[in-house]
């Protein structure tokens, strides 16, 4: 159906683009802008591989219509490195072996970025909670949590309950 113009800021750069009403942000980023760092995993909201930031909040690009992103500020994994240098999160994932095949990594890093913006020194429960929607088939998650802790400069895993689950709490 019809196309419309949207203007949005992607990784700090203002874009004015013609997009279809039914175009997903994921396809727009990967195919229209050539930003293929954001991954298509499940393509249905289940895996978190497509996590990007929209106005600082974590969002699944595979569930987001780009036509609804008018005026939004979108950040992808490509925004992490600056001047050829890795961000703290990227460096920590590299050093702590938080990445193996790497397919989940862009989503993991962007979900962690969203967390650290709101909570610069998260405990392990908060990290597990923030990454709860991101699947990894390789690492077993321990190294990923260590990487986020290293980037934030906080503790080592194992000193908090294994699973964050607010629903289990009775207040």
């Amino acid at each position: 159906m019809g196309k419309r113009l949207v203007s949005l800021v992607v990784n700090g750069r203002l874009r004015e683009e013609a997009v279809g009403d039914a175009t997903l942000l994921l396809d727009f980023l990967r195919e229209q802008l050539g930003l293929t760092g954001t991954k298509r995993g499940c393509d249905g909201g289940e895996c978190g591989a497509c996590t990007v930031l929209v106005d600082d909040a974590p969002r699944l690009a595979c569930l987001t219509l780009v036509a609804r992103c008018e005026g939004a500020r979108v950040e992808t994994i490509e925004s992490q490195s600056a001047g050829g240098r890795m961000s703290a999160l990227q460096a920590a994932f590299h050093e702590k072996l938080g990445t193996q095949c790497g397919f989940c990594t862009p989503g993991m890093i962007m979900a962690a970025e969203a967390l650290l913006r709101g909570d610069p020194a998260p405990d392990e429960v908060a990290i597990r909670e923030a990454l709860g929607g991101n699947l990894c088939r390789c690492t077993g998650y321990v190294k990923i949590i260590e990487a986020v802790q290293a980037a934030a400069g906080v503790g080592t895993p194992g000193d908090a309950p294994r699973r964050a689950d607010a629903t289990q709490a009775t207040r």
Binding site: G20, D21, A22, G48
Partner: protein, 327 residues
Amino acid sequence: MERLPAFELRRASSLAEAIGWLAGTPGARAIAGGTDLVPNLRDGLGSPPVLVDLSGIAGLDALVAGDDGVRIGANVTLARLASDAALAQALPAVVQAAASIAAPGHRSVATVGGNLCVDTRCVYYNQSEWWRRSNDYCLKHGGDTCHVAPHGERCHAAYAGDLAPALIVCGARVEIAGPDGTRGIAIEDLYRDDGRAHLALGPGELVAGVVVPVQPPRARSAYRKARARGAIDFPLAGVAVRLSADAGRVASLAVGLTGTNSRPLRLAGTDAWSGRAIDEALLADLGKAVQKQVSPMRTTLTQANWRRQVAAVAAQRLVRELAEAIA
């Protein structure tokens, strides 16, 4: 490049505009956060010609606490609900339920209205187009047989929204706006026990918001759900309880259930327990009542009878824990 069926997206700036478009365009659907609708459209479950975007409607995201309770606008996001410290005090079951829904990447856009109106679910329905085609589709969409109950006439897909049972025990009312104006109903009356048509909304009607009354003094509430993926999943069975107690006896008890039927339920018969001691006998009666009133069907990979039992046990544990917290 389009992976979704084609549709026209219309951004409503007022409820009246949204209602007009929905009522005037056959097959048009509302979209709020889109975290339920978009994956379903991807799976070929419907091809609405028009999607009416509710996200730009002024005032629909208001969250206002007043003397007579809290009004939660339909566009309030689950992330906001889950992180509201005052609400966590006043309505713990609602906040716990919100925090348990999907993951942060969903909750940042998923809304209260969308969660209340979330589609029912079934292993034979939440599948890709080719999967369902190879199985001759089913009664809920595109076919004429229910694979869960092949001799029946109805669809048993389970309602699995988490907020509804929590709002039920808190006595919430839902405000519905439509072509004929606005009406308010008890939240349990928003639903029907039919997996194919579980919402009691007329053409063009929308959920505008929810009003939760001030909770009785000394009442406490909590929500708990059983799920396959611990970090992120719909409830296989979800239970909300609100209890007020006096000297170890029930003053009032409300139990809400989700994930087990095609609609969320308020457990019937709990009024008769007022004044009873909170003891093993009461918990046994509670467990029996839950097992009797839920009717999980083979709509999940997990056994239906396990969902029945877990609903009962979760209700018992919540009552026990709330009673201890009150004492």
